[in-house]
């Protein structure tokens, strides 16, 4: 049931990004590297927004390299626009449940209420994004990916706009639901503190190379030269 990147090559801006690694199911992994190093490109390849020039992507030994984003076992939270702002939270989650018609079926309402309760937003279904605080909006976005119920969750710095305390709160919430649902999570961040808080393992992206997951604490205590330069001796 592992997520495996086999000799993936993809153009990331002006350089080639290369990745060959395997991620264990249920792992929580931080992806760190300088801006422009290709962190988001890596997530785009896994989510299906970008086709690699070469290489294969497997989930549970099934080749998913060519699948459309919605057909993959993957859900993703972007930096912004994770929900449609003109719809209520309930309608948004309804769309995620039934992306073909967008209409609610019989037990959808209770499914939505359950998920909202899990992220601490019980009773928020009739609200719109504009009626919610930044932290609540993040929780609603998380509810969207939980409704999609995909085994792999990609987080492309979705909490970057939150204050430090709220961000920590969200990371703890993701940890909690990821454990409960046995999700495999990749979190892109430029903050090593996020990695320490959230992810036992970390992937470093540097100079066109995606390195295999390593123990976060060991890595940050003893960073390789490229990462050291980025962290600025932290």
């Amino acid at each position: 049931m592992a997520l495996r990147l086999e000799d993936i090559h993809v153009r990331a801006g002006t350089f080639d990004l290369h990745a060959s690694l395997s991620i264990e199911p249920g792992a929580r992994i931080a992806v760190i590297g300088a801006s422009g190093s290709g962190k988001s490109t890596l997530l785009d390849v896994i989510a299906g927004f970008r086709m690699p020039e070469r290489g294969r992507l497997y989930w549970a030994e099934r080749d998913i390299t060519r699948l459309a984003p919605a057909d993959r076992p993957v859900s993703i939270l972007f930096q912004d626009i994770n929900l449609f702002p003109h719809l209520t939270i309930g309608q948004n989650l309804g769309l995620a449940l039934n992306p073909v018609t967008g209409r609610l079926r019989n037990d959808d309402a209770s499914t939505i209420e359950n998920v909202l309760a899990k992220v601490g937003l019980a009773g928020f279904a009739p609200r719109r994004l504009s009626e919610m605080s930044g932290g609540q909006q993040s929780r609603a976005a998380l509810a969207r990916v939980l409704v999609q119920a995909r085994p792999v969750l990609l987080l492309d710095e979705p909490f970057a706009a939150l204050g430090p305390a709220l961000k920590d709160e969200m990371l703890d919430l993701v940890t909690e639901v990821a454990r409960a649902e046995n999700l495999t999570v990749l979190l892109v961040s430029h903050d090593p503190k996020d990695a320490l808080r959230f992810a036992p393992q970390t992937i470093v992206v540097d100079d066109g190379q995606v390195f295999a997951p390593q123990d976060t604490r060991t890595l940050l205590d003893n960073p390789p030269p490229g990462l050291k330069a980025y962290l600025g001796g932290a």
């Binding site: 989510a47 984003p69 919605a70 449609f84 769309l95 992306p99 018609t101 967008g102 504009s130 969207r144």
Partner: protein
Amino acid sequence: MAARLVAIIAAVTVAGLVIGPVTAVILRAEAFTGFTAADWQALRFTLLQATLSAALSVVFAIPVARALARRRFVGRGALVALLGAPFILPVIVAVLGLLAVFGQSGLLNRVLEPLGLPELQIYGLHGVLLAHVFFNLPLATRLILQGWLAIPAEQFRLAATLGMGRRAIWSAIEAPMLKRIVPGAFAVIFVICLSSFAVALTLGGGPRATTLELAIYQSMRFDFDLARAAVLGLLQLALALTAGLIALRVTSLPVAAKAFDRAVPRWDRTNASARIVDAVWITIAALFLLTPLAMVAVNGLTGITQLGPSVWQAAGHSITVALGSTALCVLWALPLATRWGEWLGLAGIALSPLVLGIGLFLIVRPFANPFELALYVTATVNAFVSLPFVLRILRPETEAIRADYTRLRQAVGLSGWAWLRWVLLPRLKRPLGFAAGLTAALSMGDLGVIALFADPDRATLPLKVYQLMGAYRMEQAAGGALLLLLLSLGLFWLFDRGGWVGTAT
């Protein structure tokens, strides 16, 4: 995939509506023997009136726009909004209003008569010019006002710091702006007036004041000379295409209102004589635009209560045609709201409705009686003519929605239908309401292709009003015109307002 198919179907029907009728017209034109003196006269008159109309509109628009740009006064907002109104004002309504002011027994003659001054005559070239300036002065004013308001405030501040006089400000700041804006405004109005039909039909006529469009109509209605109509149609097409391509290079279509209420701080407006000049221009412009409309309302009040059943029937036809043409136009516009779709839609400007009408007439004739299809043809042609404006309104917003939400759409895996129903349409509601309102009002007031196929049982309201005018039943005509005005504005208001109801972001 399905979305792509829909876009292709929309593009093919629009392209077919260009290619089919034009081909039919070209084939039919083969039987033609040669231009007559009257044809050359029509060509000359078309060019002459378009040149003069554009020149007069622009020349008068400059002082009006300058006054609006540098003065704040009560009612300025309303006046600027009024400048947008002629776009959806039915031509026949304006013509009746102008007749009531400038016509033989109009307001102006009643004032001039006791003074012993000669009576004004409205029919002929100057009547056509009067109507064209009435319609296009507001457009030119809006374009030039936009130019004035786009001048960075820093430039006027700098001028004040340097102590520049009026003349220096004019030559350093204002004249260069006008040099950029005026050719475009002239070109747009020239193109609009080239295919003037309803104005020429009502106020022109006779060998000395016949446009090409009117000549097409006459060879069709009076002589039933299809070959001649076809050749004149080709001439009109060539003329409009050439002028349209030139206009496209120098300007862009102004449809939606930009921010006109921005105050440009200036330090050179305290001068008393300049203030008086501005006040005079604003008053003249307001009177020129408002008096005819007020006359339509006043004259129509008695007539509207005495309308016969045939007028109501015509009103019913018009509403049906307007709604049908709005639906068709929106169906075309949604999938074509892209860059190349907008190019395709521009055909709606180049191809005159009468040429299109003749082409459709020729295509339909072997299979059915074209007169029975008059209302369908009218609705189709109206939708086609509105398409470029609608695309101009919808495209920026549609592209912004795609840019913002395509990734989320893919992440959630929305089907084409769910995307349309839950995302695109709800988010597009406001511009869509505005665009639909414009289309409905334009179609409601259109007096063009329907005149070609005129048939007492299938008249639209504008045609009915024209027929009442022709029969000198002026009271009924005035009543019909008021009804038409109310229906046009009402449809626009309903659609535009519909776009605002329950919208949240």
